[in-house]
């Protein structure tokens, strides 16, 4: 089952000589099967040694300076002379261990390429530490994603090793491709995924655990800067500035931080708003709160508590002004719950949760509360642009009116408006003249100066501006239609005609 073959011998020997760990040896020899990497480190180490001992015995004769072989590399490569003192201790300890493979209880030397990532950080103890972190967070989950961030200087060491591999193989008349090497991250995942999966008793994929490794010092360079620099630098220059082979560190790289996050979940429903003093989102001007609550908070706060989340994002199919009520079946909304601890909720529990929200306030009411997918939320936003809305407005007229003065409104169908961006939103929206359509109107006479107007309009029509005219910037407007000054005293949304989320029978 050992992954190396005859042709890998010189390369493996060279890698071992400069302090690469057995798994890095496999990687640079291009061993592409996952199983060998999963062998315990000690076993692999002794296998490598056995393999290379044969090498020495068999090929000793063709090697002029076979004893010890690493000297050959030193002599061949005068550019690394400066690194020799640092390497000296490594060389001797390496020699000890290579001479005494039986000495299995001493910790392995830290790999000069992976800084111990494929050694200690693959061991059960580390996996246990990660799993403890996951379990202490009390997440509900059925799968996981393990993502890992390695220190940027690993790329530099990887590059140094790569140059040596290229050189060595060049000697054999081969020109290796970088893609043939198994990436450090790939090998790491091959090893750690089965271990994590076993320890957590769930398959990989789905839940995110982040491990952030760091080696001694925080790198001052970003990963991208390092990678770009390595792409640009000439081989000679690189060798001049960085020891090739890389020196061996005394201590392995350690995990700096282990973070767990659960994928966001989404809750959707419809809300009614019964208050004329309730904004949809917190209303804060110059850091000062104007009104104590908001639709989004009234709905989301119970969700935050029950799902045990870090934060939330509220969205809805359009929005109403602070002084506008939303009646009828309500307005579709969705809440993204970020990093939830609880994720499993039965239909019955969602019903209870809805009841909890509705019992907590009389300013809003929620219906059709349900768990939905991220993708489904797109349907809510699509509807926002296309669908129609119906409203009820209480209209005041300056001129005294009779029933007969307003009945013509009922006959108007598909009335086209040119609506300039209302002054009240002009500070944050582009200035434009937007054509909008009032599909139908129905008037109900109240007294000489008041009537109720029911309208069905294209989404995106500003109703208040249609009634009062917005300094004549919406044309035509109720004032111009009636030949007087008109104003709007109250406005209610009677329906938002979006058929999402699905209605529930509750």
């Amino acid at each position: 089952m050992f992954a190396l073959t005859e042709k890998d011998r010189p390369l493996a020997q060279m890698l071992l000589d400069f302090g690469a760990c057995p798994r890095c040896i496999l990687r640079f020899c291009g061993a592409g099967l996952q199983t060998p990497y999963r062998c315990p480190h000690k076993e692999l180490l002794s296998e490598v040694h056995t393999f290379l001992k044969n090498n020495k015995e068999e090929e000793g004769r063709c090697c002029e300076t076979a004893d010890p072989p690493y000297k050959r590399i030193r002599l061949q490569d005068p550019e690394v002379a400066e690194g020799l003192n640092q390497n000296g201790s490594l060389q001797s300890s390496l020699m000890e261990s290579s001479e005494n493979v039986a000495c299995e209880n001493s910790p392995p030397n830290v790999c000069s390429v992976c800084l111990g990532i494929l050694q200690e950080s693959c061991e059960r103890d580390f996996v246990k530490k990660v799993c403890q972190k996951v379990n202490s967070a009390e997440y509900q989950f059925t799968s996981f994603v393990f993502s890992v961030s390695f220190p940027p200087q690993l790329s530099v060491r990887e590059h140094a090793a790569w140059l040596l591999v290229k050189q060595e193989m060049g000697k054999q008349g081969l020109s290796p491709a970088k893609e043939d090497i198994v990436q450090l991250k790939e090998a790491y995942k091959w090893i750690i995924h089965p271990l994590l999966s076993e320890e957590l008793s769930v398959p990989a994929d789905g839940k995110v655990v982040d491990a952030n490794f760091n080696f001694i010092l925080q790198s001052v360079f970003t990963r991208m800067a390092v990678i770009k620099a390595l792409e640009k630098i000439k081989e000679e220059d690189f060798r001049k500035h960085f020891p090739c082979p890389p020196t061996s560190p005394k201590t392995p790289c350690a995990a700096l931080e282990i973070q767990c996050t659960n994928g966001a979940i989404f809750v959707a429903g419809r809300y009614n708003k019964y208050s004329r003093d309730l904004p949809q989102t917190p209303w804060i001007i110059d850091g000062e709160r104007k009104l104590e609550s908001s639709v989004e908070e009234l709905i989301s706060e119970p969700l935050v508590t029950v799902f045990k989340v870090d934060s939330f994002n509220f969205s809805s199919s359009g929005r109403e002004d602070v002084d506008v009520r939303t009646l009828g079946n309500g307005r579709p909304f969705a809440v993204e719950l970020v990093n939830p601890r609880r994720v499993h909720f039965a239909t019955e529990e969602m019903k209870e949760l809805q009841q909890t929200i509705n019992n907590s306030t009389d300013k809003i009411k929620v219906r059709d509360l349900q768990l939905v997918t991220r993708e489904a939320i797109g349907r809510m936003k699509e509807g926002e642009e296309e669908k129609t809305k119906t409203y009820s407005a209480l209209v005041w007229t300056e001129k005294a009116i009779q029933k007969g003065d307003i009945s013509f409104l009922d006959e108007m169908k598909e009335l086209k408006l040119d609506q300039k961006t209302p002054l009240r939103v002009l500070h944050r929206r582009p200035l434009a003249v937007r054509p909008r359509v009032i599909h139908t109107m129905q008037s109900a006479y109240i007294d000489e100066h008041h009537f109720r107007l029911h309208l069905k309009t294209q989404a995106g029509t500003y109703i208040k501006e249609f009634v009062h005219g917005d300094f004549g910037r919406t044309k035509p407007n109720m004032g111009s239609l009636l030949g007087t000054t008109a104003d709007i005293l109250e406005l209610d949304v009677e329906s938002v005609d979006v058929d999402w989320p699905p209605a529930l029978d509750n």
């Binding site: 939103v425 500070h427 004549g472």
Partner: protein, 171 residues
């Protein structure tokens, strides 16, 4: 049965006044300031153009040989390309059938959003509804200046006192 509720202008805007603009007696301007910092430039009630017997002959937004307020174009949320106005930047010139001509000024620093083109075809709405449909222009002050923009202007109460004094001195 007139509603007790304040009108649209009164509900959303604060009125600020600048009397005797450019030293011309009674040529008072009124600036309607929205809580979102948008300002609408209008004529104050005492402006000679709104007095009995005046007939507007024409309104001209071409304020110099190479600057027309009608050419103002703004684009995007950030309103790029707007003409920048200082307090004394002229917005338009209005000439009357009696030969008098009046210049209307911005009164505040900011960027010009739009001028009211409706009054070109129908100058009488300027006189009928000076505080709403007969507005002159919409100006957006700079965010950082929006607080201090009204410093040189009078509140409605202060303006009433000015009108009272004016009335007493002529009486």
């Amino acid at each position: 049965a007139v509603t007790m509720a304040p009108s649209v202008t009164e509900r959303y805007f604060t009125r600020w006044y600048k009397p005797d603009v450019k030293g011309n007696p009674c040529e008072d301007h009124c600036i309607l300031q929205h809580s979102n910092r948008i300002c609408v430039i209008t004529l104050a009630e005492a402006h000679p153009l709104l007095q009995n017997g005046k007939t507007i002959k024409s309104i001209n937004y071409q304020i110099s040989a190479n600057c027309s307020r009608l050419q103002n174009k703004v684009s995007g949320k950030s309103k790029r390309g707007a003409q920048f106005l200082t307090e004394l930047a002229p917005l338009c010139r209005i000439s009357c059938s009696d030969g008098d001509e009046y210049t209307i000024y911005s009164c505040i620093r900011g960027r010009l959003m739009e001028v009211n083109e409706s009054i070109l075809d129908n100058p009488s709405i300027l006189q009928d509804k000076p505080s709403t449909e007969g507005y002159i222009a919409v100006v957006l002050p700079k965010f950082e200046e929006s607080k201090g923009i009204t410093q040189g202007l009078l509140t409605q109460k202060e303006y009433q006192e000015v009108l009272l004094k004016r009335f007493n001195s002529t009486a």
